[in-house]
Amino acid sequence: MSAPATDLASRSGADPVRRDPHAVLEVLNTSVRFGGINALTDVSLSARTGQITGLIGPNGAGKTTTFNVITGLQHPTQGRVFIGDQEVSGLPPYRRARLGIARTFQRLEVFGSLTVFENVLAAAEFHRSWSDDGTPPRQVASEIVNRVGLATVAGARVDALPTGLARLVELGRALATRPRLLLLDEVGSGLNHDETAALGDLMLDLTRDGTAILLVEHDVDLVMRVCDRIFVLDFGRIISSGSPAQVRKDPAVQAAYLGAEASTELAGEPA
């Protein structure tokens, strides 16, 4: 079960463009080289509507690079990206966003000089300007600020917020564009146990509305709890994929997470 193509098995060998029928996102045979370094090598993965797909791996494995390729911030050396039925490989980031992708950033990209509410409001206004959604942006924003649990700090400037809350601002901002595919890059780091649990609930709640989530997360408990499928990256390659249980047992994954401590963390019971 550790073969990279496992999840894409429905694709017949003759036609590499044959797609995962449930996929709202499909990344095919993507490679990225920075100078002489292979950041990604032949990465293929998909994310499905109404599911949470995990993307895990050690630091520097290429998770954020994958997100950058999907959103168009990084041009791959080779490979293709599909959103729904449409190939987006050549499209600029804003055109891809308008097809319903939204993301958060591991290195924060908040609008620091605006307040929490204005951050989400701005995103709602952006969404209104390019979609046919007629809901007043202020209504969308206040709804979302409440939903992600930021109402008490709504009037605070974001550059004054602690990192954990700023990540929730990015989540709220992404939600304000009503995405069908949400890419979350370590959105839970900086949150305490209860907050992380609430975040997990929120994600599950979103999938019930039909959102597909691709989740990069270091918190193994959270990943194992919420993900339907997991892809594991190591040194820019997909070394394993499958259900949480399958991935947890995969020796290649345990080896990648070097050392007994990490292996037990992966294989053992949630703490």
Partner: protein, 649 residues
């Protein structure tokens, strides 16, 4: 023909070598400290004058004088500016570093003007009494040989320094990561200090070699050195050999153009603008970095005034101007009207740079275009002139914005500066007519008299007041939020579906149009303008004034222009102010390094404090809490409320 070609080649090589020295100095400081030193030329100029002072005026032995300037005074100066001005700037936003180094430029020009009176001629002779040797039929001066030899020696020396010595390798490492260098046992502060000392010495050498070839003139030397920027950019601000090659190519190209271009018409002047055209072209062709991600923006911008308070202040301003207008002399009324026209141009920088984070060094060029249109099409004060002034400036603004949209802070600043220089040297001289003077009428609004100085003063005040209210309303609108968002994080905006380039294009166009309106009014103050009113240097001064006044508030635009007005009013009574103006403006701009929000920001701070003291609390945007109470996340909120509030403050 052959000997002519040879002689132009020799001159071209010398010019190229001087450009190479300039470019080398710029690259050395930029690669080690990340600061592009706009004052580089001014430092070279000051060094050339210092050398003149020692050698010609005080009769110091020329070799001793040269050693003193190159190896003592210049490095010492580098040491001092690094310690006082540059060190606090490492990691600061580009427009702050641009303003501080421009401030240094102006301060040096001001200081030079008070030491070496601009109206007396200073002559710096060639080295070796202009002796030389014959190469075929061409006399090659030893000065030229010295310039070429010095450049070759320095190029080789720097190569050894950067590749073979610990210090050089540390210099290359420090810009990438000073902290890492420190951990590896290097001393980033000393390395950066050395870079500034070396940079200043190189600037001094270039200035001293250039002065006898051109002319020992303060502004001329300061700006001639600007031609070396193109070479530095060809080397992408890090590749020294490429920069040197580029410098030689520009130097030779310029001199061949002098020989082979026709003796009159547009082409006869093209050699003048060649470096700037190259600079602009290279900037466009340079591969640009990916979308910039969020950066630390330095200071917290002041609160944006609400509609009510901005309207109240605008009305108070106009009423105040009506009241004081009765007590002002016609000349002071004109100075005041000029101040408000300038304030309009500063307001365009508030929008563009203050809110949008884009640095423009060509706002005065847009103003000039506005004045030209008002002059040509505004007969009898017709509003057609005003409308076309705004339209042409906006259209040219859009044209300039299009190829420069992807440029980041410094590159955009340099590109707009190149554009302003080209317009000044090649276009404005034509547009304003051969005599240089263009009659510009005052706009006539039906039913409102604007003919007298008093009426025109009130009109300009009213236009500024309305424009300020408009700009503040724009900032509070969803477009304003988009603008600020694009400035804070272009990458996030793009992934939220925003066409970042389109947003930038729009704001650049609006700002250019506003500057055009200001220019049309500037023209009406004296009834005529000439090309000298709209030179590139003035755009630099405007950016400094905007920063000093406070670039992210309309109040700041008013304060910046007021400073200028105050100088103009006081100057007839205190003649020394003429020189001091540059110096003081420069010094004020330097202070921006420590106080990026300027005077306007200070006032906003005081106002906020006053509100606190008097208990008039400003209301933040109201969020209806509990709109979707009952969802899991709302419960999450309730449980965590105490902690979240605690964490938020």
């Amino acid at each position: 023909m052959g000997s002519e070609l040879l002689s132009f080649t020799v001159v071209g090589l010398v010019t190229g070598c001087v450009y190479a020295l300039i470019a080398t100095g710029l690259v050395v400081t930029y690669t080690t400290t990340g600061i592009f030193n706009f004052a580089h030329g001014a430092i070279g100029m000051a060094a050339a004058f210092m050398f003149w002072q020692l050698w010609i005026s005080w009769h110091v032995n020329p070799v001793l004088a040269l050693v003193l300037v190159l190896f003592v005074i210049a490095p010492l100066f580098g040491l001092v500016i690094e310690r006082l001005l540059m060190r606090p700037l490492y990691g600061a936003p580009t427009d702050v570093t641009v303003v501080v180094t421009l401030g240094l430029l102006l301060a040096l020009v001001g200081m030079a003007q008070s030491f070496w009176k601009p109206n007396t001629t200073h002559i710096l002779p060639l080295f070796f009494h202009a002796n030389g040797f014959r190469l075929g039929q061409v006399l090659v001066s030893y000065h030229a040989v010295t310039a070429i030899a010095a450049t070759v020696a320095i190029a080789l020396g720097l190569r050894v320094l950067f590749n073979r010595t610990r210090l050089g390798i540390a210099m290359r490492a420090v810009v990438d990561n000073p902290d890492l260098l420190a951990m590896a046992g290097g001393r980033p502060a000393q390395v950066q200090q050395f870079a500034w000392m070396l940079g200043c010495s190189l600037a001094a050498l270039a200035g001293i070699l250039l002065a006898p070839l051109a002319q020992l003139d303060i502004l001329l030397l300061t700006l001639l050195v600007v031609d070396g920027y193109a070479a530095a950019i060809i080397g992408r601000l890090r590749n020294l050999p490429l920069a040197v090659l580029g410098a030689l190519a520009i130097g030779l190209g310029q001199n061949y153009l002098i020989e082979f271009a026709p003796g009159s018409g547009f082409l006869s002047r093209i050699y003048n603008i060649l470096p700037m055209v190259v600079l602009f072209a290279v900037l466009i062709l340079l591969p640009q970095d990916r979308l910039r991600t969020a950066s630390f923006s330095g200071a917290v911008a002041p609160r944006v005034a609400g509609l009510k308070s901005s309207v109240v202040w605008a009305v108070l301003l106009v009423v105040g101007c009506v009241l004081i207008s009765f007590g002002l002399s016609p000349s002071n009324l004109r100075i005041g009207a000029n101040g408000f026209a300038i304030a309009l141009i500063l307001l365009s920088l508030v929008l563009l740079t203050g809110y949008g984070g884009m640095v423009s060094l060509c706002q005065m060029t847009f103003a000039g275009l506005g004045a030209v249109m008002m002059g040509h099409l505004g007969h009898g004060g017709s509003l057609v002139g005003v409308v076309t002034a705004v339209a042409l400036a906006a259209a040219v603004g859009a044209l300039i914005a299009l190829p420069t949209l992807k440029m980041r802070g410094l590159y955009l600043a340099l590109a707009t500066f190149a554009f302003a220089t080209v317009m000044q040297q090649a276009v404005f001289t034509q547009l304003f007519g051969t005599g240089g003077n263009l009659e510009v009428p005052r706009p006539h609004i039906p039913g409102i008299p604007t003919d007298s100085d008093r009426q025109f003063f009130i009109l300009t005040a009213a236009v500024f007041a309305v424009a300020s209210v408009g700009i503040l309303a724009l900032r509070r609108s969803s477009f304003g939020r988009r603008l600020v968002a694009v400035n804070d994080s272009p990458a996030a905006c793009a992934t939220l579906g925003v066409n970042v380039n389109w947003t930038k294009l729009t704001v650049f166009t609006i700002a250019a149009g506003l500057a055009g309106l200001g220019g049309a009014l500037v023209g009406g103050v004296a009834g005529q303008v000439d090309a000298n009113g709209f030179v590139a240097l003035q755009s630099l001064v405007l950016l400094l004034l905007a920063r000093v006044g406070g670039i992210n508030t309309a109040t700041g635009a008013f304060l910046g222009a007021s400073t200028l007005t105050l100088f103009a009013v006081l100057q007839p009574h205190v003649p020394q102010l003429g020189n001091l103006q540059f110096l003081l403006t420069g010094l004020a701009a330097i202070s921006v390094g420590r106080d990026p929000n300027g005077a306007g920001g200070r006032i906003a701070e005081l106002a906020a404090k006053a509100r606190e003291i008097f208990g008039i609390e400003h209301r933040d945007p109201v969020v209806p809490v509990g709109a979707v109470a009952g969802t899991p996340a709302a419960v999450f909120l309730d449980e965590e409320e105490g902690r979240l509030v605690g964490a938020g403050h």
